[in-house]
């Protein structure tokens, strides 16, 4: 499988991009040390509650706050001190980009894993039990799918109030139905297979059949969709941040950094660095996951195997 992945230049590009961003996210404290370092240093990589479990004292610390160099309202072009320039109110763009990579992974992983999990459970229940369970769950997914995704996420975020956590909740609430439908379809065809009948004949419980026999054989399309969504969910979150619904000013978040441009839309030519750098980061992050997702699809979907496309 890995050999097939590496044979295709497009998949390799995707893999390289994703690895690049992963490295930046992991190395963020080294690449852009916060003005006041967090103590202990391990807390950059290990969640505070685990460290506290080992008896370590963790001081509250927020490296995601971009350091500010003055309060001047117009952006300043790249200089020696700020290699990528500063946004309005003098937030350093490079620092924001580096820590924003972590934010992107936080948002992407949290949202995608949540909707994947919800979708798997509901889709499996719906497909496996059929009848009224199926009818009820599928009608509910239809209601969620009747909304335009971004608009629905926007209204829910506005109701919950501003904030990156609210954005994530909204994306999860309107993101799961696609997965539930996909998994349901796969489960429907898998449950008629001989190995499921064999498991049932040998007296396995429904729970065991679903989680040990059906799901492992039906999970791949959902995984492909999840890898594509790693990019697109970050994109949606960035779009909501751009509209001013995301994290507060000065938080290292790509969408939030671009949202400053709303104040000088007619002077973008002069302040190009406030668009190009954060925009490029979002573009390549999404592109990387898309290419990787496409590659997974080619590798995992046996119907396409052997077909040169």
């Amino acid at each position: 499988m890995i050999k097939r992945l590496l044979k295709n230049p497009i998949s390799v590009t995707g893999l390289v991009l994703v690895l690049f961003f992963t490295l930046i996210a992991l190395a963020a404290p080294v690449l852009a040390p916060p003005p006041r370092p967090c103590q202990p240093l391990l807390s950059y990589w290990v969640p505070a509650w685990i460290l506290e479990g080992f008896g370590q004292k963790v001081q509250p610390c927020n490296p995601y706050k971009i350091p500010q160099d003055g309060r001047w309202a117009t952006p300043k072009p790249p200089s020696e001190k700020h290699p990528m320039g500063t946004t309005a109110y003098q937030y350093d763009i490079l620092y924001g980009l580096i820590w924003g990579t972590r934010t992107a992974f936080n948002v992407g992983l949290t949202v995608t894993l949540s909707i994947l999990l919800i979708g798997l459970v509901l889709g499996a229940l719906s497909g496996y039990y059929g009848r009224w369970v199926d009818e009820l769950l599928m009608r509910i997914t239809e209601i969620f799918l009747a909304f335009p995704f971004l608009v629905a996420a926007m209204v829910l975020t506005a109701i919950l109030g501003r904030g990156l956590d609210k954005v994530m909740i909204a994306l999860v609430v309107f993101g799961w139905p696609t997965y539930a439908r996909l998994v349901r379809g796969e489960v429907l065809s898998a449950k008629e297979r001989e190995y499921v009948l064999a498991a049932r004949a040998s007296g396995a419980s429904d729970f065991r059949i679903i989680f040990r026999h059906v799901l492992p054989n039906t999970i791949y399309p959902a995984l492909v969709l999840a890898s594509l969504d790693m990019g697109s969910m970050v994109l949606s979150a960035a779009a909501l941040s751009f509209l001013g619904l995301g994290s507060g000013t000065g938080y290292a978040d790509w969408g939030q950094m671009i949202s400053f441009t709303r104040n000088y839309l007619t002077d973008l030519d002069e302040y190009w660095y406030t668009v190009i750098y954060p925009g490029g980061a979002i573009l390549f992050f999404v592109l990387g996951w898309n290419l990787l997702g496409d590659a997974f699809r080619d590798v995992l979907d046996p119907r396409l195997r052997g077909v040169k496309s």
Partner: protein, 379 residues
Amino acid sequence: MLAYIARRLLLLPFIVLGVTVLIFLMLQLLSPYARLALYIQDPAQLKDPRQLERLIELYGLNDPVLVPFTHRPLEISLGFTTLRIAGDPDCGFICYCHCSPQYLRWLGEVVRGNLGWSETDKMPVLSALISRFPATLELAIFAILPLVLIGVLLGVLAAVYHNRPLDHTTRILSIMGYAFPTFVFGLLMLMLFYGRLGWFAPERLTQWASDIVQNPTLFTRFTGLNTIDALLNGRWDVFFNALSHIVLPVLTLSYVSWALIVRITRSAMLETLRQEYVTVARAKGQRELIVILKHACRNALIPVATISGLSFVGLLNGVVITETIFNYRGLGKFAADAAYNLDIPSVLGFTLFSTTILVAMNLLVDMLYAWIDPRVRLD
């Protein structure tokens, strides 16, 4: 075919009902004071605090959402709280839930067209939606037609010239297009074509043209669509001005869906070209053009019909971002400004509007699908 359509139509009310219930449940996250703006048409009512209490009472905003009834009063202890269920002797032995009076009252207001007060536009939400609709309609019309035509053409060409330079270029462009964030693309367009080259400008019209359009003695507004009104008035200068303002928003709005359509058309066409009936047609000595147009395209376009419907979702989503970037005063900008100010009635009004459009479009696409592909009808 009739049975299929009938089934689709029968499901429609359930979806509409479900959508309103879901919205209503989301609204319950707000305080009664915040929800009040959804009911009133006159902002003066919101100023007086004593008036507020009266209005909350009047609209029953403190009423419980779900009113469960059994034939006997029930008390269920959950440890941390006790659930009390009122009794109703008329109710049968089986428990049931009365529909929430609060929900019905809200739904009644929505059906009557009262969507509340829009703080963003300083007018009732429905009037704001109506006044801004033509701008967005204009954008959508210009976005959809070239989108579908060029998208399908490029997709077919890419499949016919499979693995040739044209195919590779289209593929890379469509992958890039798929990953390109709308707002980054829009900002780049604005930067390049307005900031650097000065070709196209944001907003709907330049000041002089806007002055003409708003002057009733010079210009009659028939539809509210600038380009069409300009043509009907015979004002070519205004027409070209409106056109130059709409180019960038249309590009920004449609490239994502465009990438999707090219991609789907290409893969559907590739799949079809491998089918045996295509080989048979070729073996008969049919000309290649006829094979592609008559035998392959007609079958390959079936999934494209669905995707065209899907790309409508993309348009509805994209319109918010696009209009914000180009300062194009339509529904999308309205929703974006409202969201920024946390003006819930306005955002909700736009949501109701776009969801209605989407549900209608989906229905249309499904029927189109049944009409194109006879296999669907047999299910």
